[in-house]
Symmetry: C2
Subunit: 157 residues, 2 copies
């Protein structure tokens, strides 16, 4: 038993979507004029820039998972410094995830692929994008507190 | 294929241990006198208190997984405000995880259990503890930057 697999892709998707919803609420909690400018702990970036990174990394993973290959990641550092644009792209990517991830064969999470940052288990690549989202969102939550704003509750998804 | 399971417990353990090592390095990076006192974004807690919470939640999960049941979590908010104590307990828990988690039958990650915070998939409980560790560690990393300290690299595990 102990060497068999333990997780359904649908559980992974639900877990991921819960994080996406929470991150959306954290983006929304930022005042427009602070999202791409407030950087109280240099050289750390403003939260909006971190979210674009997560968006780019997630796009890279989805492209790899869904057949586009695992070449070099290509993403702009700040495609837009407008909160409405960021939220729209975030929602579009969430919708893509929800629509397309269920088609990915579960067994392939156990394959090793050559990613831009080295040979990696596909599961590790995917969960790594979720981890990076959690990591940066935690940082954004400190920024909100420094701005005197009560952040969304971590446990609500 | 798409409804089968996708992850070996050994992959989950390796993923978790990588995070434990990184969190250890973040604890080590704090000056002794700041770990339990520096709280620049009230009401957010000092990083040392957050780490004790992660330790307590992880202990609760390990106890549930390893047969001790899923009752009410019991942990002290700050069992010690000494960095050496925190690091020693952190390492002891990491060693327990490494020693005991492999014995947990993979199929049981798919069971629903009544936890203190509601009915939950065992996988969700376990990954939730890892997520909480990543979340708070991200916050600790902002604290380090605010203290003028370069944090450990997120991608090194």
């Amino acid at each position: 038993m102990t060497d068999s697999h333990l997780l359904r892709p649908s559980d992974l998707l639900e877990h991921w979507l819960g994080h996406r919803r929470l991150t959306r609420r954290v983006i929304e909690a930022f005042p427009d004029e602070q999202l791409f400018t407030f950087a109280p702990a240099p050289p750390m970036r403003p939260f909006g820039e971190m979210v674009w990174e997560v968006h780019g990394q997630t796009a890279y993973n989805l492209n790899g998972l869904l057949g586009g290959g695992w070449g070099e990641p290509v993403w702009e550092r700040v495609p837009s410094a407008d909160k409405t644009d960021l939220l729209a792209e975030w929602e579009a990517q969430t919708a893509q995830l929800e629509r397309e991830l269920p088609a990915f064969p579960a067994a392939r999470y156990g394959e090793i692929k050559r990613l831009a940052w080295g040979d990696m288990l596909v599961f590790t690549a995917v969960i790594g994008a979720v981890d990076n989202e959690i990591h940066h969102r935690g940082q954004g939550i400190v920024y909100l507190r420094l701005l005197g704003i009560t952040p969304p509750e971590f446990w609500e998804r």
